[in-house]
């Protein structure tokens, strides 16, 4: 993955507008966060292969970046995005890595289900 280039990510986001796509969205602080620090409140969420069609999408912020997708009856968003990749299957992979390089958030868009 490479550090986000806003223009490239925005172009990739726009390519999926109006198409049926599969979404992977996750936030995680790791399963050991509370083990290493009992003052830490562990929380996260994960959805894989939610099928949606979005009408607009935007990546914004000074970096780390925020990305929002407007869907028919609501929204999908992720914050803390630092890296992106358009992989060999044409999928847009966005991820946020923390200061030690560990994944903290991911938002991925694909025209075929993630396996």
């Amino acid at each position: 993955m490479d550090p986000v280039i806003v223009k490239d990510v925005q172009e990739a986001l726009d390519q999926f507008v109006g198409r049926e796509v599969y979404i992977h969205l996750e936030t995680t602080n790791g399963a050991y966060a509370s083990h290493h620090n009992d003052q830490f409140f562990s929380a996260g969420a994960y959805i894989r292969n939610a099928k949606v069609t979005y009408e607009r999408a935007k990546i914004t912020g000074p970096g780390p970046f925020r990305t929002g997708l407007k869907i028919s009856f609501g929204w999908i968003y992720a914050e803390g995005i630092t890296h992106y990749e358009i992989d060999d299957k044409g999928r847009l992979l966005l991820a946020g890595h923390d200061f030690s390089g560990k994944l903290a958030v991911a938002l991925q868009i694909s025209e075929t289900p993630f396996e």
């Binding site: 992977h24 050991y32 890296h83 990749e85 992979l93 890595h97 030690s100 390089g101 903290a104």
Partner: protein, 221 residues
Amino acid sequence: MEKEQQVLVVFPHPDDEAFGVSGTIASHVNMGTPVTYACLTLGEMGRNMGNPPFANRETLRSIRRYELKEAARVLGISDLRMLGYRDKTVEFEDPDKLTAEISDMINELNPSLIITFYPGYSVHPDHEATGEAVIRAVGQLPAEKRPKLHCVAFSKNCVEELGEADIVHDISAVADQKLDAIRAHRSQTELMLADMADGLKKKDPATMAWLNFERFWTYKF
């Protein structure tokens, strides 16, 4: 270490076998005991991607599958089984299905020793769910037919509640093999090994104790 007839190791993530168990595995293999390692997931939800990242959420799966095979090769595990569950979802699966899958393996392999996580004392929800499934499967056998069950525990309260581990293996004779197994899981261990390099080089007592001694609690029904 007692010579076993067949060892079955059941953990949910590639690298679970590396840290606290790989010296024990290598020792059994070196004694000529066949070892089967059933790994429930491919650790697809791992957070270490390298810094700068060399993996992403979608490639991590194949990277960790490769790393798992490499670790198994280093340790001489002849029978590696990837059970196809998804990382961080094991606790949400049908418990009867998990139990049945473990029971089938026990019936097929007739292990004299099973190694898994100690339910309630193994921190990660996948560890707990895996250990619980193994305990249920073994518990269904008549008491006299049950294999030995050595469990890994590392929660903060494990010694307080379970007492000290009753099985402690000095694996220093195969420490190099163990380090190679840990290294095989490069995506997950590279940073940790970099932090430990100094301790290993200077033979720091705490680091050497961490490396050379593997602890297990015999499960009591």
